[in-house]
């Protein structure tokens, strides 16, 4: 029943939200609802694996062979937890921000959360597709109504990309559905497909899905929607997009592509990996050149996601385990970064690195917190991202799915160095050095921002020092997926 609650709570309260005319009440209502969802999510962690409450299945569209079946396995647990943690964090961090038609804004945010939750728990392909769209459409409106000056352009680009991706995925899903022996959309039926689909078909099917998911992650060269959309969206939406929504692509790859089309994944793994690596280096080099904080974070995120995607193709227990924990880590780290960016922009009216400087003198608490977050972003040991990156790189190096494992590790490893370059550059130019007329009057952070940043920083360090419980959470699922990926045809 719990996965159903994950969907229903934000969905219904989001619909209610449209009718709340008082902006402040809408804000409080959404915060309350998101905390309720978080409590449910934390409660679900206390249940053992295979508890009956973690599954639910009901008849939905029987004529099509589609069921409303949802499940919480290791992969869904970690991603629903991320979603559940992110939304209250986002709502609290942006609490001081006022939007026009506030009720609608928050209602759409909650609808998007419902969609995300649905994507992560669905074990029926049609249901998955339905939630995929439910998660994206509100974001399109959020960006085009509440975004920056070039919002229409950015939202349009986002829409085109997403639309193409969804279309490709739909074609793929229908093709797979038609080939199932029992005409069903269920994940279990899809798993049985690999022996029926010849290698040639697996090839184009793989690319259909990979492009669809690759756009969402995004993977080079399908990434150009991202910096524009991140830049133009209101920060709260950017946080949802980058913290949680990009995981939809990775999730799709891990749940619906790699184990289902294991043969195609194996055949084209090297090509896809090469794209990931090119993207990592490419995005890191561009990140070094950015003067806009939002675009810097956007490109840095492309590099980090590329590594996760690469580690999936390594088809190793350690690598996939690393991806699992890193999906969570990346989410909280990037949300923390956005909080800092938002704070700077709201106070100083600029995100340009070249116009900032000397913030450490005026806002020491903010600076310390940012430095920790930035260090997590460069995967320094004893921060959460080190655990993830260490496991992923270790998985890529020990991979037997490719003969280029060493080349992949070394070239992808260069991004470790480059990440230090752009993050330290940013810290130095924004926080160190001397103040200028603009940054002279900056104040340190307020209680709500401090609360969230401190909480996120504690989480970063906690997972960094003692990651084992988080690893235990996803262990069984990782083993299952790796087994399925290794049974190629």
């Amino acid at each position: 029943m719990i996965p159903v609650l994950f969907i229903l709570v934000p969905l219904l309260s989001g619909l209610v939200g449209f009718f709340i005319k008082n902006g402040n009440a809408a804000k409080k209502w959404s915060l309350f609802v998101s905390v309720v969802t978080l409590v449910i999510s934390l409660y679900s962690l206390t249940l053992g694996k295979n508890a009956p409450a973690l599954n639910y299945s009901a008849s939905w569209l029987p004529s099509l062979g589609s069921k409303f079946s949802v499940e919480l396995d290791g992969l869904s647990v970690i991603l629903t937890l991320l979603t559940a943690v992110s939304f209250p964090a986002i709502f609290i961090a942006t609490y001081n921000k006022e939007y026009k038609n506030q009720g609608n804004f928050y209602a759409l945010m909650l609808l998007s959360q419902a969609g995300l939750m649905g994507v992560f728990v669905a074990t029926d392909a049609l249901l998955f597709y339905f939630f995929w769209e439910l998660a994206l459409i509100p974001v399109y409106f959020l960006c085009s109504i509440w975004g920056g000056d070039r919002r229409i352009q950015a939202a349009f680009k986002f829409f085109i990309y997403t639309f193409v991706g969804s279309l490709l995925m739909l074609i793929g899903i229908i093709y797979l559905y038609l080939h199932t022996t029992d005409h069903s959309f269920s994940l279990q039926s899809f798993y049985k497909l690999k022996s029926y689909i010849p290698a040639a078909d697996q090839t184009w099917l793989f690319w259909l899905f990979f492009v669809a998911f690759g756009i969402k992650m995004p993977i080079f060269p399908f990434h150009t929607w991202q910096p524009d959309t991140y830049e133009q969206s209101p920060t709260a939406v950017t946080m949802v997009l980058s913290g949680v929504m990009v995981k939809m692509g990775l999730f799709g790859l891990i749940r619906w592509l790699a184990p289902v089309l294991a043969g195609g994944t194996w055949l084209w793994g090297d090509t896809a990996s090469a794209l990931c690596i090119i993207g990592m280096i490419y995005a890191s080099l561009i990140a070094i050149q950015q003067d806009d904080l939002k675009r810097l974070v956007a490109y840095s995120s492309i590099a980090h996601i590329g590594l996760m995607c690469l580690a999936v193709f390594a088809t190793t227990q350690t690598g996939l385990q690393g991806v699992m924990i890193q999906m969570f880590n990346h989410g909280i780290n990037i949300i923390a970064l956005w909080i800092v960016v938002e704070l700077i922009e709201r106070q100083l009216g600029t995100r340009k690195i070249s116009e900032l400087g000397g913030l450490a003198q005026k806002a020491p608490v903010l600076s310390i917190l940012l430095v920790v977050v930035a260090l997590a972003n460069v995967a320094l040991p004893l921060t959460n991202a080190f655990v993830g990156e260490f496991l992923m790189f270790s998985g890529i190096y020990t991979s037997t799915a490719t003969t280029y494992n060493v080349v992949f590790t070394v070239t992808a490893g260069i991004s470790i160095i480059l990440s230090a370059v752009y993050m330290l550059n940013m810290i130095q130019k924004v926080f160190f050095g001397n103040t200028n007329s603009l940054t002279e009057n900056v104040r340190d952070i307020q209680w709500n921002e401090k609360l969230i940043l401190v909480a996120l920083v504690l989480l970063i360090v906690l997972i960094g020092i003692y990651p084992q419980p988080a690893l235990e959470l996803t262990k069984t699922t990782v083993d299952t997926i790796i087994t399925k990926m290794n049974a190629k045809f």
């Binding site: 561009i286 320094l380 270790s394």
Partner: protein, 631 residues
Amino acid sequence: MSKLVYLVPLSPFIGFLLNGLLRKNLSKSLTGIIACGTVLVSFIVSLLIFFDVRKDGFETEIVSLFNFIHIGALKISFAFQVDQLSVLFLLIITGVGFLIHVYSTAYMHDEENDHFARYFAYLNLFVFSMLILVLGANYVIMFIGWEGVGLCSYLLIGYWFKNVEYGNAAKKAFIMNRIGDLGFLIAVFWMISKFGAVTFSEVFSKAPTAPVAVLTGITLLLFIGATGKSAQIPLYTWLPDAMAGPTPVSALIHAATMVTAGIYMIARSNIMYTLAPTTQTVIAIVGTATALLAASIAVKQNDIKKVLAYSTVSQLGYMFLALGVGAYTGAVFHVMTHAFFKALLFLGAGSVIHAAHEQDIRKMGGLKKFMPVTHITFLLACLAIAGIPPFSGFFSKDEILSAAYEKNKIYYLVGAFTALLTAFYMFRLYATTFLGKFRGTSEQEHHLHESPSAITIPLIILAILAVIGGFAGIPEVFAKGSHWLHQFLSPVFAGSEKIKEVHVVAANQELMLMAVSVGVAIVGVVYAWSKFSKNPELEDAKGFGKLLADRWYVDELYNAIIVKPLNAFGKFLNEVVEKSIIDWMVNGVGKAVQYGSRQIRLLQSGQVGGYVLLMVIGMVILFIVEIFIKK
């Protein structure tokens, strides 16, 4: 007592938290007490552990705290290893560390309260990380400390964060270290894939069965890590820039402890290195070359701290030479003596800078009469580093040089020539700074004074250690069993000793080598003393000297062949590829869709006739398809 080893890193970590979190509320004296006290506790615990380890029948102790990462067959525990090597480093780190903490309370006294506390928080965090580095029982825990010290080094170099140049130096240090760290990490992955383990005991027991090529690869990659952390060619250029940090930081991090991490790591992994002779050769060559290159640069530097920085790079080169020729004890011995005399030199330099507010030795001179304690201790340190017997540097350097002689005469010749340069530039520094007449302004002269006792007491203690430290390793040629350190460390290097063939140098040959190194050192000392005490070199260098003064233009070279092209490439990607090519394609798709939809919109003219026509055409096509094409 070994079971309580976790107290050693825990104590400074608590100091870090207290000073870091309460920095606004603590008075300077309280901050100082917390910072020094926590390191003192570590030192005392280390000392007790040391007595434990010295007892007969001591076995290496692994203290496991919790499971860090356990996945399938890969088991990485958060575990500490207590043995002779780690306990020796514990003593150096906490002992010298404590003295430098005490020194800092006076040196940093002009800082505002919260920045004073911030400084000590960083310094405590550094000690914590360094202790994790040497205590880790596997390569991953070692790597945690390894990057941790890099972070603290970054924070402390850039401690005065308002200064952009200092910030650049800090950044450079971090990034160059990261390049090396990538090598370290890949070596760890290789170990995981080859041995399925990262724990020292497991890796070392499996190493002898592994192919030599694999061991060569792993050891070379680890060595790349060491070149970053321990400032060897090609990754040494960050260390001289790191002098931007406060001087006690240079003493602790960039002389006594952190930069020796690479030597510790290789000494720890000695079995793998002994089994990979190719790597050993590479290390010996890189070490020798670095020692010579850095010493040649030091000859022409005029910044008191820069001379010491290049001297450190050069001395680290000696240590790598020792590792390369398999003289592991010699390398660790030199780490120890170097920690004493180089920390002393830096602290002495700090004392001078504190008094004169000047770092350029051309504007000093004659400080002997103003700062007697600083002068005497500095002189003793110079004698130690120059290799004059019976000061500590003589014994450790001599051990390295005689090991080098056995392996290959060229190493020995270059090493001995470097020793000559070392004696020369150290006494050039000494004479220009302390002898002759004061050349600064009368305003500066007026302020010259001996430093307070919080500075001079650490100087005196370190001076005593720099003088007597060498007696821990008196050559066996003088008395059988006189090399205490060799015997103490022998369990750690026992595996390597078994593998390599042992040359025993004839006693008279060893004595001859000793005589040569002493002779060389004396020549350097006397020449520099006589040359610079009367006529310090005040003009800018010309010709070959300028090449040395400008550090062989290595920084400029790196800029030209790495930094600039990479930046230009990034710019090209950002401005051309990203904006023009990829975006153009995507926008093209977008425009095509818009265009298409506009065209299709024309069909919806609202005229019923048009719709009917389209419908009829559609039906005709459908019929044709159904009847003729489908079978």
